[in-house]
């Protein structure tokens, strides 16, 4: 019997949306105020969903404390109180949109989690804007 379990974490970061191949006017037209050269920022919330069989020995799908520790070690330590564009390897050449952040977080965590589990990342950029990967 499969059950989905979730761990919620958060980090605060600055970013901007900008495509260096475009001129300033095009960036402004596409990304609007998100293109501010001085950056802006968000309180990001991550929800990591894990789906798997309940282990009869523990009653757990996965130890959520361990999942929380892995997320802190491999994701939050990289991104919390950072400038995603300037301070991280992952977004040196990748626009830090919510979509790309969710994909990057998935890739950072996937090989740390037993492959027998299905994993999905939900990332909130604001209370009203969120994305999910994979779908």
């Amino acid at each position: 019997m499969k059950v989905a379990v979730y761990r919620k974490e958060h980090f605060n970061a600055a970013h901007r949306l900008n495509n260096p191949d475009w001129d300033e006017a095009t960036n402004q037209q596409v990304f609007g105020k998100c293109n501010n050269p001085h950056f802006h920022g968000h309180n990001y919330e991550i929800i990591i969903k894990i789906v798997g069989e309940v282990d009869p020995a523990t009653g757990y799908v996965i130890d959520l404390k361990v999942l929380g520790d892995l997320t802190k070690k491999y994701v939050l330590n990289k991104f919390d109180h950072k400038n995603l564009n300037e301070d991280t390897e992952e977004f040196k050449n990748l626009n830090p949109s919510a979509e790309n952040i969710a994909i990057v977080i998935y890739d950072l965590l996937r090989d740390k989690i037993d492959p027998k589990f299905y994993m999905q990342i939900r990332l909130y950029e604001t209370e009203r804007n969120f994305v999910e990967y994979p779908v």
Partner: protein, 136 residues
């Protein structure tokens, strides 16, 4: 007496950094908030007025009009901005939530119509950290 609150929000970058201190001293006092390249938040602003409901409208104040005033005089200056670099009323101030809420009060108060009593501002930096200011 009724207290009427309008909630607005803005997303911004900032850092906590005292330029008269060394980098080490800033890191000691402000920790990761001193990151040179900024970090950011989804700020939530609660604006509370107080007054008696008008007998003709039932309103303490037209809350739509309040929203327009907050957006015009506060949110437009802060949303998707760098609080240290882009905001005239935070120039040369430490960019803490405490100073920001005082700055917002000083920006908004003069634009409220006469007779409207601004009771308090509450500013959330994160869901777990907020400051309140009552104008004194």
């Amino acid at each position: 007496m009724v207290y009427l609150t309008r909630v607005e929000h803005f997303n911004a970058a900032h850092k906590l950094f005292n330029p008269s201190w060394t980098k080490e001293k800033n890191e000691e006092v402000f920790g990761k908030c001193a990151n040179e390249n900024w970090h950011g938040h989804n700020f939530e602003l609660y604006v509370t007025l107080r007054g008696e409901p008008n007998p003709d409208t039932g309103f303490v104040f037209d809350v739509k009009r309040l929203s327009i005033l907050i957006n015009e005089h506060v949110i437009d200056k802060l949303d998707h901005k760098n609080l240290n670099l882009d905001v005239d009323f935070m120039k040369d101030k430490m960019c803490s939530s405490e100073n920001l809420v005082i700055g917002i009060w000083n920006e908004l108060k003069p634009h409220l119509p006469e007779g409207v009593q601004l009771h308090s501002l509450k500013l959330y930096e994160t869901p777990r950290i907020f400051v309140e200011y009552f104008g004194n």
